[in-house]
């Protein structure tokens, strides 16, 4: 019996690799297993190697596993590219059609299974993926009935015959493989899961759902990998609550339309990835100086320029904090789990209105697209707070006088009116302005308005700016990360503890303003600090040093080859520090 399994299916893009993984994963999720998926794909629709790696566990997992138990291959390339991940007892099931060969330097077993042939005999070669799922079930000694419900949902609208044919394909794959395995059936029998129903979703789903729950009623966006799912979800859901999504002509239109709609009083989101964020920078400055609420998602991918558009990277950090010319108050948050992505996105709308500034939700490709099991989301935790947005009747203005939209206040936040409000008329401009929004170049006014804007975020309230797991008062090592590295860090931490290294962990959720008070005590009480990040220059490490000092303790653990960290990589790099 095993309590964890790592399964990968690979082939050419456009062959249904993704849906094979999807059906397998949904069925297991419904049995109560925790899953964590990773898609390797390229920026093309047809052709090119793609694979879908799914980790199955009886306990929560938030990282790809180091190795692989089962590899399902629809071409030789899949074997050649991935076999090294297989451990010695690993199993390769490959389509007999292409005459698979096993590389010499692996002890894993190869089974040539006639996926295509069986499927063709049953009606269409398209069902080869189902045969593969059946064959996998034999290795796991899994009752194939668990797939029936999912197959019904996916193929039901194509008719009962299609459903039955697909189930037959699963069964045929199961029977064939069972015979091949002989006494090895169930060699990887999975421990039973708890049967609890949990969500199975990607970070982008959670971000979009968080937006909806957080009162977002409009989105303006331009399609881009790996952000488009956010737009696609909201296009489906917003009409039910009176809202809509506009796919704009470009990224600049997306962000400026979002600014216009927020100015108009609607909670509005825009989402993109690095290239889009680069284009949005001038407008983010406009949101900053005009104090117009704005929620923007940046799903980081490999940069610069087009970079590695379908690969993991965390290299937009500095750009998100400092991007836009001039200086503005800004909030940058970085959820580290799918759950946090939901709650943080909902909260982003509150912060944007309370502090009247741009709020950037930083994600990364692995968090945005890695499909995983998620504990139920607690809707009662979602609040709607609109800050100093004025409601009801406003006091009469003197003739031709404007409302003091930019009134200098103690907390820096000024009362806000929106178009349509009587006695709320004011001017909004990206030019420096005085309290009613009229342009002003006066030195005293400049200082008053700059100070006012920065005062707003000098003391921001954010529920958990740092996710801390700090069991030690004095630690040998403090590991710091952000976004999707959390799971791999947690597993590395366990292994380091087993090695006798005392480890504390801080996953930074509020990147800017940097939560100095939260992190400094951990920094002070650690002998060494390892900052784990998917970029080449150590951006978070540099931010950490800049904000809390202790540069001599800080070590950068970097990976920028386009792939997420594996637990063993973090483990061994941290071990090297001792």
């Amino acid at each position: 019996m095993i309590n964890q399994l790592s399964w990968k299916v690979g082939g050419q893009q456009g062959e249904g690799i993704e849906s094979t993984g999807e059906i397998f994963a949904i069925a297991l999720n419904r049995l109560g297993y925790y899953l964590y998926g990773y898609r390797h794909f390229s920026s093309r629709i047809k052709g090119g190697h793609t694979n879908n790696k799914i980790r199955v566990s009886t306990t929560q997992v938030r990282s790809i596993s180091d190795d692989l138990d089962i590899l399902v291959a629809f071409d030789q390339e899949t074997i050649d590219v991935n076999y090294k991940e297989l451990h010695s007892k690993g199993v390769i099931m490959a389509d007999a059609k292409f005459g698979p060969t096993k590389p010499e330097d692996t002890e894993a077993s190869l089974y040539a299974v006639p996926f295509t042939e069986i499927a063709t005999e049953l009606g269409t070669s398209l069902m080869k993926n189902m045969v593969a799922i059946g064959a996998t079930s034999a290795v796991l000694d899994l009752d194939i009935q668990v797939f029936e419900e999912v197959v019904q949902e996916i193929f039901g609208r194509k008719g009962q015959q299609v459903v039955e044919k697909n189930m037959e394909a699963i069964k045929a794959g199961y029977e064939y493989m069972k015979e091949q395995l002989g006494s090895n059936v169930g060699a990887m029998e999975l421990e039973k899961a708890d049967g609890q129903k949990r969500l199975f979703m990607i970070g982008n789903d959670a971000i979009a759902m968080g937006a909806l729950a957080g009162g977002c009623r409009f989105m303006a966006a331009y399609p881009i990998t790996p952000a488009s799912e956010i737009m696609e979800y909201l296009i489906k859901k917003l009409p039910a609550v009176g809202g809509t999504v506009i796919q704009t002509e470009d990224e600049i239109a997306a962000v400026t339309m979002a600014i216009g709609a927020n100015y108009g009083g609607v909670r509005t989101i825009t989402a993109s990835a690095g290239p889009g964020l680069s284009l949005k920078m001038e407008a983010i400055g406009l949101s900053g100086i005009t104090e117009t609420p704005l929620v923007i998602v940046d799903t980081q991918r490999g940069g610069p320029s087009t970079g590695l558009p379908t690969k993991q990277e965390q290299s937009d950090l500095m750009a998100m904090i400092y991007g836009t010319h001039g200086e503005i108050p800004k909030i940058v948050m970085a959820p580290s789990t799918v759950q946090e992505a939901f709650y943080d996105t909902a909260e982003a709308f509150n912060l944007a209105e309370e502090y009247q500034c741009p709020v950037i939700i930083l994600s990364d490709l692995q968090l945005s697209l890695g499909k995983q099991t998620v504990e139920p989301l607690d809707f009662s935790k979602v609040e709607i707070r609109r800050g100093k947005l004025q409601t009801g009747e406003l006091p009469e203005l003197e003739s031709k006088a404007y409302f003091k939209r930019y009134e200098v206040t103690e907390d820096g936040v000024s009362p806000r009116t929106i178009p349509g409000m009587k006695n709320g008329i004011h001017h909004v401009t990206g030019v420096e302005h005085e309290e009613t929004g009229k342009p002003s170049e006066s030195a005293a006014n400049r200082i008053a308005q700059m100070d006012k804007r920065f005062r707003k975020i000098s003391n921001i309230k954010f529920d958990t700016p740092v996710h801390k797991n700090a069991p030690h008062e004095e630690a040998d090592l403090l590991i710091v990360g952000f976004n999707s590295t959390r799971g791999a860090i947690e597993e590395a931490m366990d292994r380091l503890e087993q090695d006798g290294v005392k480890v504390n962990h801080a996953q930074v959720r509020l990147i800017h303003p940097f939560p100095v008070d939260e992190i400094l005590p951990l920094v002070k009480t650690a002998k060494k600090i390892a900052v784990i990040e998917n970029n080449a220059t150590g951006q978070l490490a540099n931010i950490l040093k800049m904000n809390v000092g202790h540069a001599e303790k800080v070590h950068k653990v970097l990976k920028y080859d386009g792939n997420p960290f594996l637990p063993h990589e973090i483990h061994s790099k941290c071990k090297e520090l001792f």
């Binding site: 999720n29 419904r30 949990r198 969500l199 199975f200 789903d205 759902m209 909806l212 729950a213 009623r217 409009f218 303006a220 009409p239 609550v241 009176g242 809202g243 809509t244 506009i246 704009t248 002509e249 470009d250 600049i252 239109a253 997306a254 400026t256 339309m257 979002a258 600014i259 216009g260 709609a261 927020n262 100015y263 108009g264 009083g265 609607v266 407008a283 406009l286 005009t290 139920p376 989301l377 809707f379 709607i384 031709k400 929106i418 178009p419 349509g420 409000m421 009587k422 006695n423 709320g424 008329i425 004011h426 001017h427 909004v428 401009t429 990206g430 030019v431 929004g437 009229k438 342009p439």
Partner: protein
């Protein structure tokens, strides 16, 4: 009821004496009053440049954004509150150079806003460089040997992009311009009004006198029918785009807002931001 005086504020424009934009400002104020608006029901969104300052010179909600982006901002405002009257405005550089992409797409999207371009065929605030509306051969600081690029024909461009309201005017024709802006505001969909608004400081070619000599009023063309798109195009070509009046209007095509499925009848800015638990449970059930 508000009069045009209610749309005046106490800010003195920083335009040069004689600038065509003064008349555009006056026409906007008159049109707003004539269609029965109160100041708080109007949002003027403007771009960057001399003319972009106009949102600060009208007593209404005003948003002076960034160069070339008045249209997406204005469309966002309108989507947020469909009850507002939204006017986007700016210069020819704003609308036909840096913001041209937005102009074309705002036209084809057909959200119910009015876009007024103050077209002076030059970059004024940066002190006299060529504009996409400058004629070939036009000498400026950036084209000392004369422009070698073709000038954009915004009215023809609008027609090909599927515009539902295309008009052109001359800033001295206050009465005609006011009437066109009123018609643009009332039009259900995107209305584009290009206004020849001479720059008295940097454009010594396209002067008031030059326009008086070269412009043809469509009202002087017997039987001109603004619902005939083909004829509109031919007329523009025949007169090299130098016509004023309502060039084309399509009253059949519904505006974007009317076509968006599920879009709230009342202003979205008044939407209930909460969801009920039952609805939320349905949302999450899709992921089990």
């Amino acid at each position: 009821m508000a009069t045009f005086k209610d749309f005046r504020n106490n800010v003195k424009p920083n335009w040069c004496p004689g600038c065509g934009d003064f008349s555009v400002q006056a026409a906007m104020q008159r049109a707003a009053a004539n269609v029965g608006l109160e100041p708080e029901q109007l949002a003027v969104v403007s771009g960057i440049g001399c003319s972009g300052r106009i949102s600060g010179y009208i007593n209404s909600y005003g948003f002076h954004g960034i160069h070339g982006r008045s249209l997406p901002i204005a469309q966002g405002v309108k989507m947020a509150n469909r009850d507002l009257t939204v006017i986007a405005s700016g210069g020819d550089g704003d609308g036909f150079a840096i913001g041209m992409g937005h102009t074309i797409h705002a036209i084809r999207r057909n959200i119910d806003i009015t876009y007024i371009v103050m077209d002076n065929q030059i970059y004024g605030l940066t002190k006299g460089q060529t504009s996409p509306r400058s004629a070939a051969g036009f000498k400026t600081k950036s084209t000392p040997a004369g422009s070698i690029e073709q000038a954009i024909s915004p009215m023809e461009m609008a027609l090909t992009a599927g515009a539902t309201f295309v008009a052109q005017s001359f800033s001295t024709d206050l009465k005609d311009l006011t009437a066109l802006i009123e018609a643009g505001i009332k039009h259900k969909g995107f209305s584009l009004i290009n206004v020849f608004s001479p720059c008295v400081t940097y454009n010594k070619v396209n002067t008031y006198d030059w326009f008086k000599e070269n412009l043809t009023k469509l009202s002087d063309i017997e039987g001109y029918d603004p619902s005939n798109r083909e004829n509109a195009m031919q007329t523009l070509m025949k007169h090299d785009g130098l016509v004023t009046g309502l060039i084309y209007q399509n009253t059949e095509r519904p505006s974007y807002q009317e076509l968006v499925s599920g879009y709230s009848e009342k202003p979205l800015s008044e939407a209930d931001l909460t969801l009920d638990q039952e609805y939320f449970d349905k949302l999450t059930a899709e992921f089990v």
